[in-house]
């Protein structure tokens, strides 16, 4: 299931159970039968289970776009990410002598071209993550 599907499954579950509870109570009270209320509610729980738990296709309408492995090979892994360095910078707006502490050298641009960089990290750290959650 993708993220949208999971949210949909949770909402569906809550709404269906609450609705069946109300229906069951009204039927039970109207008929004067406690057993009927429990039976209708049990039926509602089973129905909700069948709708929300299995991995139906309509829960996967917004699938995550994982990078194709062959594409990832073409972009090599960048330098190490956590290197600490101090620089004295004389940029605009800064007094002479003021220090800027830069923790991470790497600048990550999240545009189309360099998106593979972040994805590549994932691939190399956790293996090739693919497929359905």
């Amino acid at each position: 299931m993708d993220w949208q599907g999971q949210k949909l499954a949770e909402q569906l579950m809550q709404i269906l159970l609450a609705a069946f509870a109300v229906i069951a109570f009204v039927i039970g009270y109207g008929l004067g039968s406690f057993q009927m209320m429990l039976l209708v509610y049990a039926g509602g729980v089973v129905l909700t289970t069948l709708i929300t738990i299995p991995n139906w296709p309509f829960f996967n309408r917004n699938p995550l776009k994982w990078l194709d492995p062959s594409e990832a090979e073409k972009h090599p892994k960048p330098q190490a990410a956590s290197s600490t360095s101090k620089k004295k910078a004389t940029k605009n707006g800064l007094e002479l002598g003021e220090e800027i502490v830069i923790v991470e050298e790497q600048v990550v641009n999240l545009d189309e071209q360099s998106m593979p960089t972040a994805t590549l990290q994932l691939k190399l750290n956790f293996g090739n993550i693919h497929g359905d959650w």
């Binding site: 299931m1 999971q6 949210k7 949770e10 579950m13 159970l17 109570f25 406690f34 909700t48 738990i53």
Partner: protein, 167 residues
């Protein structure tokens, strides 16, 4: 919500919580019921009335208990437990309560009844205070629910008197 187990757990927990809420509402709906029971008891005969060897009085009597408890039943009633108690005052105790008979009414169909019986449980005093004693016969009931709060109430019937001498 990312796996079957996660969703199944969330669904079951929510379902049981909602079930508890439904049961609470069912119990609250019992308060909407305003019962109007009636009952009548006749003491047909005093079978015997003696002072036992240990000094306590004991009496055996034949009773005719008739009652209509149909209005006590709701959709949330499992059974009604009813018992008849003799209540009287002695110099030593301000209230003596002795259960003479009890029964369980499982359904509304059996709630309108009459029964002709001797006392199911022995009517024994703590001492020797029963000669000429005036007593009330009180019909108590407990409405036992399928879920939730149990209600208890009673009807007091007065005007009964034991004989002045042993028989």
């Amino acid at each position: 919500m990312h796996s079957f187990g996660y969703r199944a757990n969330a669904l079951l927990t929510f379902a049981v919580t909602i079930l508890a809420l439904m049961c609470a509402m069912a119990s609250l709906s019992d308060n909407l019921n305003s019962p109007s029971p009636t009952s009548q008891v006749q003491v047909l005969n005093i079978n015997w009335f003696q002072k036992k060897l240990d000094g306590d009085d004991e009496v055996s009597m034949t009773l005719n208990v008739s009652a209509n408890l149909e209005s006590l039943f709701t959709w949330n009633t499992k059974q009604v437990f009813v018992f008849l108690a003799a209540e009287y005052e002695t110099p030593k105790n301000s209230l003596n309560q002795v259960s003479l008979w009890d029964g369980i009414i499982p359904a509304k169909e059996h709630a309108k009844f009459w029964i002709h019986t001797t006392n199911k449980y022995r009517f024994i005093d703590q001492g020797s205070n029963l000669r000429g004693r005036e007593f009330n016969l009180t019909l108590h009931w407990h409405i036992m629910p399928k879920t939730g709060k149990m209600f208890a109430d009673k009807i007091v019937m007065s005007g009964y008197r034991l004989p002045d001498a042993y028989r």
